[in-house]
């Protein structure tokens, strides 16, 4: 008989008022008893909706069954048959809109904590089991993977398992893409990313850092070098800005730049890193997605006194994961919803001193089905801030498109 508790087994977390001052991981993960208890909530449905909800079709009920029986290495082998990055996916996949979003237990109560279980199984393996590379029958076919982010790493891992001769080309000096430059340490420890990358390298994948495909070498030249296929996982590209006055003032960052300085360049540890970061006492983060939450929570940890999320729609439309919004609120991030920036204000020397905003209300649904925000007349006010972080998305990187004739991009 399954454990019929309506709620997930709680996962221990650092106290909000302690964690908002450090970069240690917020969620501490299950212990073995908690994991087994949560695993018994799975109904082992015959039709497995969760597997259909998973982009890489992890055999979820099968691995959870092994967890419930305490066979943790078996569970790990089942997960990694389809997913090369379990410690990462268990932490940062948007489970509520994928596997857990379609879990039968979610109809009444909370879905099974699939992400938490995946994380537990992966962590247990990393801590207790030496990864043994299975014997791989090589097929001798060369494949190039552009970008060592989550997509490229997964692709490389899967192809290597099937015997392909895989080479990854990464533009940055370190591997992991957004996992290493974007997602903060407190949500995804970089040591774990390095471990998962190592596991992929152990399968015989060649990794070339500091190679910008589109500049250092083109896709056409890769084919000339006898690669039979090229996977382009170049990731998100140029950060978007609002196009309002004052966006180039000193103190205005794109979230990409802000997070890259802190994460990839490790500016959160100024004693160790020569890369500077400047955070004022009052910080506004414009946008409502996961990146905005990461930037806001990072700014708090860097010592900002007040950090606001400025978002033009209401709480229901926030694109961030619920859990991230919840964590941000717990840590003291202020949510200025239905507020839209219209101008960044600066002083003589070119530094940000404030941001003019206008209040919004929700009107009729727009093309996306969301109620579109409308400016309220005469509601302008000036938010007192000295750092502004723009987290409003990005457009694809143009480098590969510009240098690959005939590449169809939609």
């Amino acid at each position: 008989m399954a454990n019929m508790s309506l709620n997930k087994v709680a996962m221990p977390e650092q106290d909000p008022n302690i964690r908002n001052k450090n970069f240690e991981e917020v969620a501490l993960g299950y212990g073995i008893e908690q994991a087994i208890e949560e695993a018994t909530r799975c109904l082992q449905c015959k039709h497995k909706p969760c597997v259909g909800g998973c982009p890489v079709n992890v055999p979820i009920p099968e691995f959870i069954k092994q967890v419930a029986e305490g066979n943790l290495e078996e569970a790990y082998q089942i997960i990694t048959s389809e997913n090369s990055l379990p410690a990462i996916c268990g932490r940062v996949c948007p489970q509520e809109s994928q596997c857990e979003g379609v879990c039968v237990r979610g109809i009444k109560g909370e879905a099974v904590g699939i992400g938490r279980l995946e994380r537990f199984v992966a962590d247990y393996h990393i801590q207790n089991v030496e990864t043994v590379v299975p014997e791989i029958q090589k097929n001798g076919i060369k494949v190039a993977v552009v970008g060592a982010g989550p997509a490229g790493l997964s692709c490389a891992g899967d192809l290597a398992k099937r015997g392909y001769d895989v080479t990854i080309f990464e533009a940055l000096h370190d591997l992991g893409g957004v996992l290493i430059y974007g997602i903060p340490e407190f949500r995804l420890p970089k040591k774990l990313v390095a471990t998962e990358v190592d596991n992929i390298a152990k399968m015989g994948v060649t990794i070339n850092k500091n190679v910008v495909v589109g500049r250092s070498i083109t896709i056409e030249e890769l084919f000339e070098e006898d690669y039979k296929a090229v996977f382009v996982g170049s990731g998100a590209g140029l950060p978007k800005f609002l196009g309002i006055e004052g966006e180039n003032l000193n103190g205005v960052y794109s979230a990409n730049e802000f997070l890259t300085r802190v994460n990839l360049m490790k500016a959160y540890n100024q004693d160790q890193s020569p890369t500077p970061i400047r955070v004022g006492d009052n910080v506004a983060v414009v946008g409502g997605g996961n990146v905005a939450m990461d930037a806001a929570r990072t700014a708090l940890r860097l010592g900002a006194k007040e950090v606001s999320i400025v978002y033009r729609r209401s709480e229901d439309e926030l694109p961030a994961r619920r859990e991230e919004v919840h964590h941000a609120k717990e840590e003291g991030v202020v949510f200025r919803l239905l507020n839209n920036p219209i101008k960044v204000i600066g002083n003589e020397a070119g530094w940000v001193t404030g941001m003019e905003c206008v209040k919004m209300e929700l009107g009729e649904p727009d093309a996306s089905g969301r109620r579109s925000p409308i400016e309220m007349p005469n509601s302008n006010y000036i938010l007192d801030v000295n750092t502004v972080i723009m987290a409003i998305g990005q457009s694809p990187n143009p480098l590969i498109r510009q240098t690959t004739p005939g590449l169809d991009v939609r």
């Binding site: 533009a171 940055l172 000096h173 430059y181 850092k209 500091n210 190679v211 910008v212 500049r215 250092s216 070498i217 998100a236 590209g237 140029l238 950060p239 800005f241 196009g243 966006e247 180039n248 003032l249 000193n250 960052y253 794109s254 990409n256 730049e257 890259t260 300085r261 990839l264 360049m265 490790k266 160790q272 890193s273 020569p274 890369t275 500077p276 400047r278 020397a349 070119g350 990187n397 143009p398 480098l399």
Partner: protein
């Protein structure tokens, strides 16, 4: 890891290194740049390519020892390895065959100017150059330019080489003499490039400048290198680094360049600069 093949001090604060970097050497063109990280915890430092040898697979860069990372670089010797060296980045300079072009190089700006003028010369353009600096010892690559240019002029603040004055004084006197240039390529401190454009814009003499703003990744991802050109925000790393000088908002560039002055001072203290 990228081996240092050659190292030379061009003056008290400017050094040249040749680095083994086959991916960069194979593809780079005048106007493009690289980013390096001296060691595994280093900053990413963008530096313009001064020369390259495709056969040898090497790239030459010239830098001024001004901050934390260039000081570390300065401590390295031939045979040592630089941790990271990525490129070529940015767009190649848009070089067209003209009748006559004037290059203007201020201080270390002469380094990225050199491959551009050499290529123009190869294309059959008559090339003059003005090299400037505080005094004779701050003027670099004089001999190299003399080998490829039709005329080389010098301007130093103290008159120790060429005229006493600025590169713009030479520009003015050339224009007064009636020398007809189709284009000016000015590379150097922002204040110098701005002064050049202040002369060339009113007479509509096309002027290319090369910007070297603060940046991290160099592939368009961070947006830290944004500059206003023609009223629009452009990213120097993917849209530049060369831009139409008439359109560049130099005052904004100068403000943004000073973004981390205080932090840089702090780091400089720690390494005893």
């Amino acid at each position: 890891m990228y081996k240092i093949l050659k190292k030379e001090a061009l003056n008290q604060t400017v050094e040249l290194i040749e680095v083994e970097a086959p991916f960069v050497a194979k593809k780079c063109e005048p106007g493009q740049f690289i980013i390096l990280r001296v060691n595994e915890v280093g900053e990413r430092v963008p530096l313009t390519i001064a020369d390259y040898d495709r056969e040898k697979g090497s790239v030459t860069i010239i830098y001024q020892v001004v901050g934390y990372s260039t000081k570390l670089l300065s401590e390295m010797k031939v045979g040592d390895f630089i941790n990271d060296f990525v490129g070529p980045l940015g767009q190649p300079a848009n070089l067209k065959k003209h009748n006559r072009v004037l290059g203007i190089g201020g201080g270390v700006g002469a380094a990225p100017l050199y491959p551009q003028l050499r290529k123009l010369k190869e294309m059959g353009t008559q090339v003059d150059v003005v090299l400037g600096g505080r005094s004779a010892e701050y003027v670099i690559l004089g001999k190299e330019f003399e080998d490829i240019c039709d005329n080389v002029y010098y301007a130093t603040n103290d008159g120790s080489l060429g005229i006493t004055g600025f590169v713009t004084d030479v520009l003015n006197s050339q224009l007064e003499k009636g020398v007809e240039y189709d284009e000016v390529i000015a590379i150097g401190p922002l204040i110098m490039m701005k002064a050049v454009v202040n002369i060339t814009k009113p007479i509509n003499l096309p002027t290319a400048v090369s910007l070297n703003p603060i940046m991290i990744d160099g592939t368009g991802m961070c947006g830290g290198c944004r500059v206003t050109v023609g009223g629009k925000t452009r990213f120097a790393c993917v849209d530049g680094p060369d831009f139409d000088g008439f359109e560049v908002d130099f005052d904004e560039c100068m403000r943004r360049q000073g973004m981390y002055k205080e932090e840089e001072k702090d780091h400089a203290c720690r390494i005893g600069l």
